[in-house]
């Protein structure tokens, strides 16, 4: 999660490495569910707002859990991500293909 900071808030940072970042707060049931669901989409960089409040502030995270594309922080979903199909749809390519969970490998950027 160390490569998180430069991307946040930078609108069109597509070139800085695509991926998913999940902001959570603590270890409640909701947070655990969100992490579990997010990992089904591919590798996820999980950031606990308590550990790194500056990152959350920089990314203007309003609520937790929030999943966002690191290459486009405006693309974000708040909640435990229970409706995974809708989440995929919103995230767009390459996450919108449910048959290929590994399509979002780091090499994709």
């Amino acid at each position: 999660m160390s490569d998180a900071a430069p991307i946040a808030g930078s609108g069109g940072g597509a070139g800085l490495g695509a991926g998913l970042r999940l902001f959570v707060l603590g270890q409640t049931e909701t947070m655990r569910r969100a992490i579990q669901n997010a990992r089904r989409l591919g590798p996820v960089d999980v950031v606990d707002v308590r550990d790194d409040p500056a990152a959350a502030e920089l990314a203007r995270v309003l609520a937790t859990p929030t999943l966002m594309r690191t290459d486009d922080p405006r693309v974000r979903i708040v909640g435990d991500l229970r409706d995974l199909d809708a989440v995929r749809g919103h995230l767009g390519p390459p996450y919108d293909d449910p048959s290929d969970a590994s399509a979002t490998g780091h090499g994709n950027g």
Partner: protein
């Protein structure tokens, strides 16, 4: 006021936070409560990204970070609005932090109570109203050696060896318990090892969850064993004491019989009724025999009286007695006993013609006893006062005080305690220095109490002793 303004006003006054978001997840509108929730009263939420407009079926729990302990727990619902050409979604945010915290506290409290029960030294059950055991703590399992699954679902009568296994009896018992609210009783439980333990049950009824019984079970086996041992020891001691009293009573009689011969014959010899003794030394010896015999008689009498009092067989007669006569007689008798003391040493004072109701022999015994003590412990030539007077001047209603006051060696506080306790005197120095059982004072107290009065002893070392015999008003004969 146009529709938009009206809607905005209405939304701002909602208790829930409301966001309108577009398809990209950008906030188009935030109401007042939403700005408060996100602590963005100064900065606009509009234009920023919030979340994808993914419709929710059930509310989703999210957390709005708010720094130290101020995180808000919020239930979020997202539903699409299709009124416009732009497809917007409505995000409603309900702050459930308080409810959540209350639930949390409840959970914590539950955990505390549970740990209290679990860590309790006493066993614990929760049963329903059919007395089926729903919960059991480890203390009970430890106490009895049963496994949890042996106990859960069982009934008290499965463990209680004294219990009624009859369902109707159990139901009746539960019914009584509900009426009374609680009950404490002792019974016996069997253990997994085939032994039986004594347990004390305290049961209380609570109407929660359709009625529950809370049962604390304490292993009182050690206490019961100790109690049984004490009872056995007590019975043995009582038996021993009874046989001692019986023995003493019997022995005293047997001791007195030969003494009569010793006393009678020594008196005849002393008076030389059948001819002279010849030698002065014989005369001295005979006097010694008589004195020792007299002492022995008084000792035996003390022991006999005490055993009678202990056995509750000391009978008192109620006869009207002239007090002055009684007092004078005691002075004569004690002067004879203690030959060294001059009978004029005792100054008697008593209201003229005062009569009391009592037992002649018993009162004489008390008077003689106290008076002989006074003579024994008096400093040589000081007068001893023997006086009777109403407790309150000229008023017989508060009873009568009879005082024996000497100015002898007196006693310290701890010596008074010993003097009042008959079995201490035996070990004390007085007993060795002054012959006697030391039972006299104790017997006097008992007799005074049997008469409805009491005996008080005031004394100071080197100043003297004052014994007050108090008789209640109903012992004073008021015929004048």
């Amino acid at each position: 006021m146009d529709d938009i303004t009206l809607s905005t006003l209405a939304l701002d006054n909602l208790a829930e936070g409301v966001l309108l978001i577009d398809q990209a997840g950008t906030v188009i509108y935030a109401n007042q409560q939403a700005r408060v929730l996100f602590e963005r009263e100064g900065r606009p939420l509009e234009g920023g990204a919030f979340s994808a407009p993914i419709r929710t079926t059930d509310p989703i729990e999210i957390v709005i970070p708010g720094g130290q302990g101020a995180d808000r727990i919020v239930e979020m619902r997202v539903s699409p609005l299709r009124s416009d050409q732009d497809r917007l979604s409505l995000v409603s945010l309900r702050d459930v932090s308080e409810r959540y915290r209350a639930a949390e506290q409840l959970r914590e409290r539950e955990a505390v109570y549970r740990s209290v029960i679990e860590s309790a030294h006493d066993g614990f059950w929760i049963t329903d109203l059919s007395a089926r055991i729903l919960e059991v703590n480890t203390a009970y399992l430890r106490m009895t050696g049963f496994a949890r699954e042996d106990v859960l679902g069982s009934r008290p009568q499965d463990f209680d060896v004294d219990a009624d296994s009859d369902a109707a009896a159990v139901a009746a018992r539960v019914e009584t318990l509900i009426d009374r609210g609680s009950d404490v009783f002792e019974t016996r439980h069997r253990t997994a090892h085939g032994t039986v333990i004594d347990v004390e049950l305290s049961i209380s009824y609570s109407p929660v969850s359709g009625g529950r019984l809370f049962v604390f079970l304490r292993d009182i086996t050690p206490r019961k064993q100790a109690e049984a041992e004490i009872l056995t020891a007590k019975a043995a001691a009582e038996r021993a004491n009874r046989s001692k009293s019986e023995f003493l009573a019997a022995m005293s009689h047997d001791l007195r019989t030969p003494l009569n011969a010793i006393m009678g014959f020594s008196e005849i010899m002393r008076t030389e009724a059948f001819g002279p003794l010849g030698s002065d030394r014989y005369r001295e010896y005979v006097q010694g025999i008589e004195d020792s015999g007299a002492l022995l008689v008084s000792l035996v009498n003390d022991v006999l009286d005490l055993s009678k009092i202990e056995a509750g067989k000391y009978d008192l007669r109620d006869e009207a007695l002239d007090l002055r006569t009684l007092m004078d007689r005691s002075v004569v008798q004690t002067s004879v006993l203690g030959r060294v003391a001059d009978r004029d040493l005792v100054q008697v004072s008593c209201p003229d013609g005062l009569r009391i109701l009592g037992d002649d022999r018993a009162l004489a015994q008390v008077f003689n006893n106290i008076l002989s003590n006074a003579i024994k412990f008096n400093a040589e030539d000081r007068p001893i006062r023997f006086e009777a007077a109403f407790h309150t001047d000229h008023d017989p209603h508060d009873g009568l005080d009879i005082r024996i006051i000497d100015r002898g060696i007196g006693m310290a506080r701890e010596e008074i305690g010993k003097a009042l306790n008959p079995f201490e005197m035996i070990e004390s120095q007085h007993a060795r220095r002054h012959q006697g059982t030391g039972l006299g004072l104790h017997i006097s107290i008992q007799v005074m109490q049997l008469l409805g009065g009491d005996l008080r002893l005031d004394s100071r070392p080197r100043e003297g002793t004052c014994v007050t015999l108090w008789l209640p008003a109903n012992r004073i004969v008021m015929d004048r």
